[in-house]
């Protein structure tokens, strides 16, 4: 209230603003409310030009940056193959022949990339910018379950398809499942179901297990799965100790194992965590110990080649499970390893494999549905049965959008021939053995909801 001349100045300013706005409106323009747009095909970000944009949202910084980098390589390879470049990779061995190498539905595939930083918030911000700014019609990626679940929820709200990357938690297709989200990767329950019989065969029925578990959603669900599966085989669980995710020195967690009376140590850790905890356990001489008249054993339920490389010598002879391994001899795997190897000079990781498959599966579903509309694509994926993508016969279950396929039980190789040849496949566990019903207790409480086309 300093003086009336100021108020007038402000009024003049407002008037000017209104005049400017009016001038802008008078020009040939149109307003369009995104939430109710019907003119562009009835769904969000319907591609109108000659191209279609996919969003690759992977960790480029943070603890899972290695996996993220490998995923990005696979995405680029998949885009190349979809657009008719390269040797076509697994498109040639894929059981569905809808893809013709001319993009998706005749539109050239383009992509945008983002950094999830392995944080739910950053991942959602990145995915939102892809949807809002770049017009992405599908988001894919993720190298940890928390991020995958967060981004899956966002895609459900926004109305685009989410094709999950590496996410192993039961929750992704359990209590957090969403109609717009699909997962090709296996999960904690499947790891348990595949591993337990092998462990029983190798180590016997009478074992006492001690669990060290990464203290977050994925760690808990995997620990629960492994405990249940091994107890079903007669094992006893002595203790389960939660370790904070940021732990780097595990010696204080490993020391009590020695006197606990346990004769098996289960490490529910991933990435750098697993490398450190395993190294710690080996340094304590656990593997040379004899407890209850039996050799002390270590198990790492979720294995990856990148982790095996980090842990070096220590992984020799240690059992675990994995979604896929490049040494598989089927046609699909051979084709994929060949085209990946020719482009980048080394074999792909399981993270690379799953995201490559997801991209192909999405593109194929669009072709079969004849649209990019998330509801149409979702329908085409639900209950879809296929083979030739490296995992044998696979089905995308309609009830929870989880892929069911064979699970590999692997062992650290005793005599690796190269820095990539670190794991050997012990057993291919058939799909029927890792099957569960959608209302299984570990997966209950979720609701797919209805597919959301975002318009």
């Amino acid at each position: 209230m300093t003086g009336s001349n100021k108020t007038i100045g402000r009024r003049g300013l407002l008037k000017g603003g209104v005049a400017l706005g009016a001038a802008g409106l008078a020009a040939p323009t149109f307003f369009d409310s995104r939430a109710y747009a019907a003119s562009d095909g009835g769904y969000l970000n319907a591609p109108t030009g000659k191209t279609v944009t996919l969003g690759f949202n992977v960790p480029q910084t943070g603890p899972y940056a290695d996996e993220g980098a490998d995923e990005l390589r696979a995405y680029k390879l998949a885009v190349e193959h979809l657009n008719g470049g390269g040797d076509g990779g697994m498109m040639n061995t894929f059981s569905s022949k809808a893809l013709k190498g001319n993009g998706i539905l005749g539109k050239k595939v383009e992509y945008v990339t983002g950094d999830t930083q392995t944080k739910s918030d950053a991942a959602r911000a990145s995915a939102k910018s892809m949807i809002e700014k770049d017009g992405a019609v599908m988001i894919t990626g993720g190298s940890s379950s928390g991020v995958a679940i967060a981004v899956q929820g966002l895609c459900q709200e926004a109305g685009v398809i989410f094709m999950a990357g590496l996410t192993h938690s039961n929750d992704t297709t359990g209590k957090d499942k969403k109609a717009n989200g699909f997962r090709h990767f296996f999960n904690g329950y499947m790891s348990g179901a595949a591993l337990a019989p092998v462990l029983e065969k190798m180590y016997g029925k009478d074992r006492k297990a001690y669990h060290l578990t990464a203290d977050y959603t994925w760690g808990w669900t995997q620990q629960e799965s492994i405990q249940q599966a091994t107890e079903g085989k007669g094992w006893e669980t002595v203790n389960n100790v939660l370790t904070p995710l940021a732990t780097t020195d595990f010696s204080s967690y490993v020391a009590p194992v020695v006197n606990s009376g346990a004769d098996v140590l289960v490490l529910n850790h991933y990435g750098g965590n697993m490398v450190n905890s395993l190294t710690s356990a080996v340094q304590f001489g656990l593997r040379d110990k004899e407890v209850n008249g039996k050799n002390f054993e270590i198990v790492v339920p979720l294995y990856s080649r990148l982790m095996a490389r980090g842990a070096g010598e220590n992984v020799k002879g240690i059992f675990g499970s994995t979604n896929w391994h490049w040494s598989l001899e089927d046609e699909g795997s051979k084709a994929f390893v060949k085209s990946f190897g020719e482009k980048y000079g080394f074999p792909p990781s399981q993270a690379a494999h799953t995201v490559y498959c997801q991209t192909l599966l999405y593109a194929d579903a669009c072709e079969r549905a004849g649209t990019f509309n998330p509801c149409g694509v979702g329908e085409a994926l639900e209950g879809f049965f296929f083979f030739g993508l490296g995992n044998g016969p696979t089905i995308y279950r309609a009830e929870d959008h989880q892929c069911f396929k064979d699970v590999l039980v692997v062992k650290g190789k005793e005599n690796p021939s190269s820095e990539f040849d670190l794991l050997e496949v012990v057993q291919v566990t058939p799909m029927s053995q890792v099957w569960y019903e959608p209302d299984h207790a570990m997966f209950a409480g979720g609701d797919l909801g209805k597919c959301n086309p975002g318009a």
Binding site: V112, A125, E132, D215, T217, W220
Partner: protein, 408 residues
């Protein structure tokens, strides 16, 4: 006007115009042009600009005025976020109760943490706040994220982040109301798109809600800066011992500043959840606390508008530079022969994509070394040099206060 002097009124009007016209100003490049990569005018990023602007404005009330360097403000941001999502879960998707509760919860939280931390000053205060924030983070990430009291996922849902499920009570939710955050029926996600020639501008309901709230709290912070209370806070920064010797009890003032800035942080957290109904524990991590310190220093601690500029700058780097991948760089330099383009691309790629932290680090270093007063200090300096005659007077108000470092 509104109890402000002329220069402050002008600044407020200027900020209001810039903020409300942001959807147009942030999209200077046509949608199809190759420079569209640098456009920032999409709803999510604009929302983040103003929300983190609010966070930094509040932080500046503590750090800029009293010099108390808190490394734990992310705890309040996170507490606000969780409070807001819980309101969604229990009562329904109207954002208003959520935002109000987030401010209250953050206020209570900051009274508790502030009361203890403010017993010390200087580096000890910083460490205490950092410890409390990391404690909150660990609680939210693991302890409170486990199934408890019959709640699946506990209070915070751990690593996954708290979100709304279709089987939540939502007792005030009606069939007519949109099934996503809304303000009396207007969804926060609602976006009007205005095509003007080759340009495309997005006017988002959520952004305008945040923008108006930011203008209100910006005005509030102006009043605090110019009040006797603000003067007292500056006195604390200049020499707290002298104040104590003259018989002034500074504790109530610093605690008030701490709580006010905590409530600002809670408001920002509530708005984050209102725009995107998921609250993750990382919002409480020390990196988030560090970010707001960077924002404030980058923009100019103790200045009114500086923190907002700093917040915008950091969010811009995080969201725009991180998306420039190798393919895009190669596209830019495709006119050059490959032997020339390849080295350029590989050098530039160090600074974009996954290397965006590096670029931000360099900018931060340059600002701290060459513009000790932050961006605002630099702008004022440049303005003075340009308009040597009239500049001195105009700049007086936004001038940073003498920079004596953290309270002794």
């Amino acid at each position: 006007m509104l109890g402000l002097n002329r220069n402050d009124t002008l600044l407020l009007i200027f900020v209001a115009i810039i903020t409300l016209a942001a959807p147009i100003l942030m999209n200077p490049f046509p949608t199809e042009s190759s420079l569209a990569q640098f456009n920032a005018g999409y709803p999510d990023l604009m929302q983040r600009f103003v929300i983190f602007g609010i966070f930094a404005i509040g932080y500046n009330i503590l750090f800029g005025l009293t010099g108390y360097l808190s490394f734990g403000h992310a705890a309040f941001l996170g507490a606000g976020s969780y409070a807001c999502v819980w309101m969604f879960k229990l009562f329904g998707y109207n954002v208003l109760p959520g935002i109000v509760l987030s401010v209250i919860v953050a206020g209570i939280f900051s009274v508790a943490i502030g009361y203890i931390s403010l017993r010390r000053s200087g580096i000890y205060f910083s460490i205490l706040t950092l410890a409390f924030a990391q404690m909150s983070f660990a609680l939210a990430y693991s302890v409170l994220g486990q199934d408890m009291w019959g709640l699946k996922g506990g209070l915070t849902n751990g690593e996954t982040g708290l979100q709304v499920y279709s089987n939540d009570p939502q007792i005030f939710h009606s069939e007519a109301a949109p099934n996503l955050p809304h303000l009396f029926g207007v969804p926060m996600r609602e976006t009007w798109i205005w095509e003007y020639g080759a340009w495309q501008f997005q006017f988002n309901a959520g952004f305008y809600l945040c923008a108006i709230i930011m203008l209100v709290v910006f005005y509030l912070s102006m009043r605090i800066f110019r009040s006797p209370f603000g003067l007292m806070l500056r006195a604390v920064k200049t020499n707290q011992n002298r104040l104590n010797y003259t018989g002034v009890n500074t504790k109530p003032y610093t605690l008030a500043a701490f709580v006010i800035s905590g409530m600002y942080a809670g408001l920002a957290g509530g708005l984050l959840s209102a725009m995107d109904p998921l609250a993750g524990a990382e919002r409480m991590q020390w990196t988030a606390s560090g970010e707001v310190v960077l924002m404030t220093i980058l923009g100019g601690a103790g200045t009114l508008i500086g923190p907002v500029l700093g917040a915008g700058m950091i969010k811009y780097f995080e969201n725009i530079f991180s998306k420039i991948n190798k393919g895009i760089l190669e596209g830019w330099f495709s006119f050059l022969p490959e032997s020339v383009a390849d080295p350029i691309v590989s050098v530039l790629y160090l600074f974009t994509g996954s290397g965006w932290h590096l670029t931000l680090g360099l900018v931060f270093m340059l600002v701290v070394i060459f513009l000790p007063g932050g961006l605002v200090g630099g702008l004022i300096g440049a303005g003075r040099r340009l308009f040597r005659r009239g500049g001195g007077k105009a700049a007086k108000n936004t001038q940073p206060t003498p920079t004596s470092q953290a309270a002794e």
